[in-house]
């Protein structure tokens, strides 16, 4: 049971990660990453780390990745283009990586520490209370330091977004010359007969292209 769940979610994890690499549109990559994070949260539950699992879901999937998706939507990032740089990286990176991964896995798999007693499904290790206690006693200093880090990050993000923002397009009373462009862009208001005429013309054009 335990192993079955592990294998299932490990496979989902790896599939998500591969999809992250393989997808060309950033939003698909982001969604793949969310899948990875979700299944990691399940793996944490298997390991009995409830609190971390929940935090993983809330912070990683619910906050950080939302930020990513948001930015992708805002910047309207299109599918990425292949450049020469990416081809070089492919040629060097993939074989090199396989070697590194192989070595890593060999080392790790070799050191199969004799099984400590395994937790049952649903059993917990590291309840929130215990985590809180150690966080606010042993690790109080690092905790406070991270809070300062977060504060700095917030200020930095605000500053960056403010400081480097291009001057906002100014609002102005309608300049009728431009109003024309505006209407042109938005589509002008013609008669039904005119629209029919144009549609017919377009149709004829298309037919000519087809026959050619």
């Amino acid at each position: 049971m335990h192993l079955g769940l592990f294998i299932a979610f490990a496979v989902i994890c790896v599939a998500g990660a591969i999809s992250l690499v393989a997808q060309r549109h950033p939003i698909n990559s982001a969604l793949s990453l969310i899948v990875v994070m979700g299944s990691l949260a399940v793996l944490y539950l298997l390991l009995g780390a409830e609190f971390v699992a929940a935090i993983q879901l809330i912070v990683y999937a619910g906050a950080i990745m939302v930020l990513f998706v948001f930015v992708i939507m805002l910047l309207n990032a299109g599918a990425e283009e292949r450049t020469r740089g990416s081809r070089v990286a492919m040629a060097l990176g993939v074989p090199g990586l396989i070697v590194v991964a192989g070595v890593l896995m060999y080392t790790l798999a070799g050191h199969t520490a004799a099984g400590q007693d395994q937790l049952a499904i649903g059993a917990t290790y590291g309840p929130p209370v215990a985590i809180g206690r150690s966080l606010f006693r042993e690790f109080l200093l690092p905790f406070e330091v991270t809070s300062i880090l977060i504060l700095i990050a917030i200020m930095g993000a605000v500053l960056l977004a403010r400081y480097h923002a291009a001057p906002a397009p100014e609002t102005r009373a309608i300049d009728p010359d431009e109003a024309g462009d505006l209407l042109q862009l938005a589509g002008t208001h013609g008669s039904a007969a005119g629209a029919r005429e144009r549609r017919r013309a377009e149709h004829r054009m298309r037919e000519r292209e087809v026959t050619r």
Partner: protein, 340 residues
């Protein structure tokens, strides 16, 4: 308990919970239409069945039978996935919500909850925070300007108010000392409801506001403000896909109402008397009544208030609710620290 029995009970509970939840969603829609209609000197639906009681059925049929349009300019995979995501996440949250003590059938003691986890509250928070994706992706994948504006509004709003929502719960958590919803309810037993016993009325107010915003309801219904954005993020959706968003919204309302009941209104706490079977039924009844009360407030507000503007909404969330929630945490912990 053998595994097979465990799974059987779980499946039965899930089926019952889903059935009840979906039916309740349908009837809350009817109740909303009826109540608002009466507030506005109208009748509301009356044609289908006696007093219009079969109206939800007719609506459901209509949703199923309608042509499922997929506009040609959408990004199809996400366009299809988004409503499913929304609905799934909204329905999953019900899994950790307890509705009463336990019943004993045969020799099995079955808690009235699909699964009792220690970190139930965190799971609900996690699910709602992931729920943003459904709306954000729906707007983006629709490739329509109104949808995009609606989904941007919705995502920003949900992220902002999640913070206030989370912080408003901390006072309760400090008091109960647990993330488990069952234990939180038990800590309020005997009329010691958090709403007054631990002085969490400020937290309850913050929670109420944030919950309205989280579920995109009046006066925070900007993402689908029909007079501005046509229908917001579901402008391009029709038939069953639209229905999924619709049900998801009402399921979220239920989750939020259940949570409010459990955290602030004492859960199933209430006068219990009578024979054994009544002892089991009454708590559930109290719980349901409280949830209905909360939902009635939702509907009432919808009949009364106008809608915020986007920047006012953000200001309200960040500049008013958030400091209020923080102050509440501070005071609650001070009180607990000093009295303990």
């Amino acid at each position: 308990m053998p595994l097979s029995q465990y799974i059987l009970i779980a499946v039965v509970k899930i089926a019952i919970a889903l059935f009840v939840l979906l039916t309740a969603c349908a009837y809350v829609v009817l109740a909303e239409r009826k109540l608002i209609a009466r507030m506005q000197n109208r009748w509301g639906p009356t044609r289908v069945g006696p007093f219009g009681f079969l109206q939800p059925l007719a609506d459901g049929l209509k949703f199923i039978l309608k042509e499922d349009l997929i506009p040609s300019h959408v990004y199809k995979p996400l366009y299809i996935a988004a409503p499913m995501l929304s609905l799934t996440l909204a329905l999953t949250a019900i899994a950790v919500i307890p509705i009463g003590q336990s019943v004993t059938i045969g020799n099995a003691n079955i808690p009235l909850q699909i699964t009792d986890v220690n970190i139930a509250l965190l799971i609900i928070l996690g699910l709602t925070s992931v729920g943003v994706y459904g709306i954000a992706l729906a707007g983006w994948a629709s490739n329509s300007k109104y949808s995009l504006l609606g989904s941007l509004r919705a995502s920003a709003q949900m992220i902002s108010y999640e913070l206030a929502l989370g912080l408003s719960l901390i006072g309760v958590l400090i008091g109960a000392g647990s993330f488990s919803l069952r234990e939180i309810v038990n800590s309020q037993a005997g009329w010691h409801w958090n709403l007054w016993y631990r002085g969490q009325f400020v937290a309850f107010f913050v929670y109420l506001m944030a919950a309205f915003a989280e579920t995109n309801r009046v006066p925070f219904d900007l993402p689908e403000a029909e007079t501005e954005l046509v229908a917001g993020y579901h402008t391009e959706y029709s038939a069953m896909k639209f229905a999924m968003f619709f049900v998801a919204e009402y399921a979220n309302m239920f989750t939020v109402a259940c949570l409010a009941t459990l955290l602030f209104l004492g859960g199933w706490d209430g006068p219990v008397f009578g024979p054994a079977w009544l002892m089991v039924v009454l708590p559930v009844l109290w719980f349901v009544l409280k949830v209905i009360l909360f939902i009635f407030v939702y509907i009432w507000i919808r009949g009364t208030l106008p809608r915020f503007r986007y920047d006012q909404l953000m200001a309200f969330g960040w500049k008013f609710l958030l400091p209020l929630a923080l102050a509440n945490i501070l005071i609650t912990s001070l009180v607990i620290g000093l009295t303990a």
